[in-house]
């Protein structure tokens, strides 16, 4: 425990050394501190075992509405007796003069045999100089009083009456120093503060954790020599599917997997030559009647490949390293592992010597840069690449292999109709999966909940 004291603590200790038992209120006066400072100071000293706080309760008595009325005008029974001092009076007159206290006054006087009734007249029998409760009423009326200073019988008499007496229970704190505090010398530590004390929490403004991951991945691609291209999230089916050799009756093109935009079709989808050659490739290889209206239907892109293939078809580069990064969509039930909208990164290498081992090499380098070194490749299937592979990476935390990026070489059925002559290596995958590993999340929805508790507390460098 540090023997460094806050100014507040010092003032309280000094005051208690002079006057050993004090209430918070007297401490406020003696130390010139605010109530809040005193409260905090006492709390700190208590935690350090330097102060003792004795709590007790006491009652304070004051007058209620009827009590105040009686304090000013006299008790109801006193007022009745006073009216009878000069001889008997008519009941109806008394009623008029006393108003609502007439009833209680009559009751009490009769009960105590102070008056008697004869036909419609009231006659005084005895008149005492001090009635029960009268003295106490006077005492209370002159200011709030502690209950234990009053006559109990008298007080009880008044407590029976409605709205006469208000009783408040007050907590009293008595602060004193512990024996170790009494011998404490606090004079020679002046100027120092408690640097070990807890401080209030403040919140940082920051980028979103998923954005941090996206930026990190973008930077890796750029340093590997790739240039970023952007494209729309809404795409015609032509670029999302047809240009990628996905037949029009393929299950992926059904409503239950892909988001089609209600009633929206594109007028212009591609050049006439592109449309002709792509449709010929479909007819020849998949043996069906290709329908341009199917190709016009607008969808929310299911991958960023539609952006890269469009770029390649427009620019026909002999050599290129490009990447595309952005939101993609799947019509899925949202769950802890599925979102309808997530981010995808996709990289493309075009070059006459581009080959499968290069493609694997780029993957290995990419994973190394995000801290994953244990990887392996398995064959898989995508409609638009041949050969096709997927990467499996070993996750130490989970203790198992998990699937990350898919990759392959664009099929000739994809590249030829669009006039792309050199081999095209392509790979990509979801970014949220990588971010989940990074932030140790088991529910992918957290990224889009914008839960301030999580956003404000998450560690930036992981």
């Amino acid at each position: 425990m540090s023997q460094v004291f806050h100014d507040i603590e010092k003032k309280i200790i000094n005051s208690l050394k002079e006057n050993s038992i004090q209430s918070p209120e007297t401490l406020e006066k003696s130390t010139q501190l605010s109530p809040d400072q005193v409260r905090r100071g006492i709390e700190w000293l208590k935690l350090k075992d330097l102060a003792i706080v004795d709590e007790s309760k006491s009652s304070v008595i004051s007058l209620g509405k009827n009590g105040l009325d009686s304090f000013e005008k006299g008790l109801p029974e006193r007022r009745l007796l006073n009216l009878l001092k000069n001889g008997p009076r008519k009941l109806s007159d008394l009623q008029k003069e006393l108003g609502f206290v007439f009833g209680p006054a009559m009751g009490l006087c009769r009960k105590n045999n102070w008056i008697e009734t004869s036909s419609d007249e009231i006659i005084l029998k005895t008149n005492s100089s001090i009635l029960p409760g009268e003295e106490t009423l006077q005492q209370i009326g002159s200011g709030k009083l502690s209950k234990d200073k009053l006559d109990t019988t008298d007080l009880n008499e008044l407590l029976k009456r409605p709205d006469f007496i208000i009783e408040d229970v007050i907590k009293n704190k008595k602060i004193s120093l512990t024996s170790s505090a009494k011998s404490l010398d606090i004079s020679n530590t002046s100027g120092a503060i408690d640097v070990e004390a807890e401080v209030p929490e403040i919140f940082v403004a920051r980028t979103h954790p998923l954005k941090d991951t996206i930026d990190e991945i973008r930077e890796i691609f750029v340093t590997l020599g790739f240039s970023e291209i952007l494209g729309n999230m809404t795409q015609s089916s032509f670029w999302n599917f047809d240009a990628l050799f996905t037949p029009q009756d393929h299950p992926a093109r059904e409503l239950q997997d892909t988001f089609f935009l209600d009633g929206i079709s594109a007028k212009k989808i591609a050049t006439p030559e592109q449309i002709r050659k792509v449709s010929e490739s479909h007819k020849k290889n998949w043996r069906y009647q290709w329908d341009i209206n199917e190709a016009r239907k607008m969808v929310l892109r299911t991958h960023t490949t539609c952006v890269t293939i469009k770029h390649l078809a427009e620019n026909k580069p002999d050599e290129a390293r490009i990447f595309s990064l952005g939101r993609v969509f799947r019509n899925e039930k949202v769950s802890y592992k599925h979102l309808v909208e997530f981010n995808q990164i996709e990289g493309i290498v075009v070059g006459k010597d581009a080959n499968l081992r290069n493609l694997m090499g780029i993957q290995r380098e990419f994973y190394k840069r995000i801290g994953i070194t244990k990887i392996k490749f398995w064959p898989t299937f995508f409609p638009y690449t041949e050969p096709s592979l997927q990467t499996m990476v070993y996750n130490e935390k989970l203790g198992k292999w998990i699937e990350l990026f898919g990759m392959g070489i664009f099929r000739p059925e994809v590249t030829k109709p669009l006039g792309i002559t050199k081999p095209v290596l392509a790979w990509g995958g979801g970014i949220e999966r990588i971010a989940m590993l990074k932030y140790d999340l088991d529910d992918v929805r957290e990224f889009y909940n914008n839960n301030l508790g999580w956003l404000r507390s998450n560690t930036k460098c992981q």
Partner: protein, 547 residues
Amino acid sequence: MPVIELSYSRLQKLIGKVSKKQISDSLPFLGLDIESEDKDLVRIEYSPNRPDYSTDYGVALGLQGLLGIKTGSVKLNIKKSKNYSISVKPTVSKIRPFVTGIIAKNGKIDDKTIKQLMTMQEDLHFGIGRKRKKSSIGIHDLDEISFPLIYTTTSKNHKFIPLNSEKELSISEIINDTETGKDYGHLLGQSSQMPIIFDVNQKTVSFPPIINAAVTTVTTKTKNLFVEVTGINKDDAEDMLSVVATILQSAGFTLENIQISGAKNSSPKLQEKTMRVNPSLINQTLGLNLNTSKIIASLKKSRLNAISKGKNIVCTIPAYRFDIFGPMDLVEEVALGYGIQNFEPTMSPSQTIGHTNPISLQLKSLNQTMIGLGFLEALNSSLSSKRVLYDMTNRDSKKIISVLDSKSQEHTILRDSVLPGLIENLSRNIHESYPQKMFETGSVFNLHDPISEKINLAVISAHKDANFTEIKSVLQTALKIGFGIQIQTKTTVNSSFEDGHCANIIFNGNVIGIIGEINSKIIENYKIRVPVVGFEISLSESILKSL
């Protein structure tokens, strides 16, 4: 992707000398993902381009090749027979024009075989059959059928006892009242005539593509099978038949042919095809330097036949491998046969210099500015809901862009504004400490030839002293520091904001956004207990430079 359940012990019997571990280690290198394992059972996911992997017989063929136990292509031995024929009547041509089939004899059928054949049939129907639309299969007990058969049409009043039923039903009843009828009846359109296969005694064999007759049901007592495939395209139907024939031969049946004739139909050939591939294409694509004999050996491990012919390799491809379109597919077969695990990744030196897209760079600078101003970055989906975008925020929902058949209520409409999402975010955080200051940059969508996508910035501040002056200061500074531009604000009225506390944001004479105190009704809707101020501006066109 389809998933099937296999038994290790059954696979071991089918493959030959092989351990369980060898099987589980090899499955992924055939392209089969292991979903789960439980003692003897393993569930695997296969790609829809390989329907032959829909049974353990097909998987065993693949594993035999990969493990080097049996290599080269599987040859179909179909005995020429004159005992079986189907004649096709022209009336089917408008409904379901093609039928093909094969006879499979002397097989042993146990429960497990029936189960494998049934999953194969289902998977083929779903995948290459496109939910029975393109083609569908019927497997029957041959000994209950008297040949020759006739594939013709009949009226909807025709009655027979269908599979899994005890009484006769009319075709109308089958279509309207049975489960498969309801699922697939629409494939036959509105025609009054329905396709049907009768045997020589006018006994109903099958009502394709809906259901078989009960009388031909395959049981563990069945020895001989008749398989028919019907479809809208002859080649597709024969492709499907080739898978079934290959599987049945692997299951121990001997095959016999069926003669089919009439109305453009003919007997199936199920022939192998040959394809040339240049070794240099293989080596160039894979980044390897394999000699011809290594290439041939690899192709054989992928259960194809190959010989060297001049500079080329000539490959023989069995009919069931109709996933092979051209030489590039053979390149992949070489890669698989060679073994993906044997590829050493290489890094080719980059000749290119990478760059971040200028738009991304500018957005990143804007992010830094907003963070400097004390705002936390939020991310919301672009596919939002009517509730968040319009109902809760009093906004006009006339020009919405919605998606069809979303599985999630919360994701049905493309956002045309970012701010409503941020206000909704506040409502989820009313228990967190204030001030709460957030911003988001993201795409918004509007109908325009057919859809325009623009990037907006939305900013929000919620705390007990939030007011117009505060948020205008933020707007002014963000744009000045972020982009060096100056804006004005001009009074306006907007249902999302408080009257008299709302302004258009003007830049170069154009309205580029809106700013103000969020309407107290909206704050009430979300049960937020502090005042909220915010703005939203369009960054595309006027502010972001595409360079």
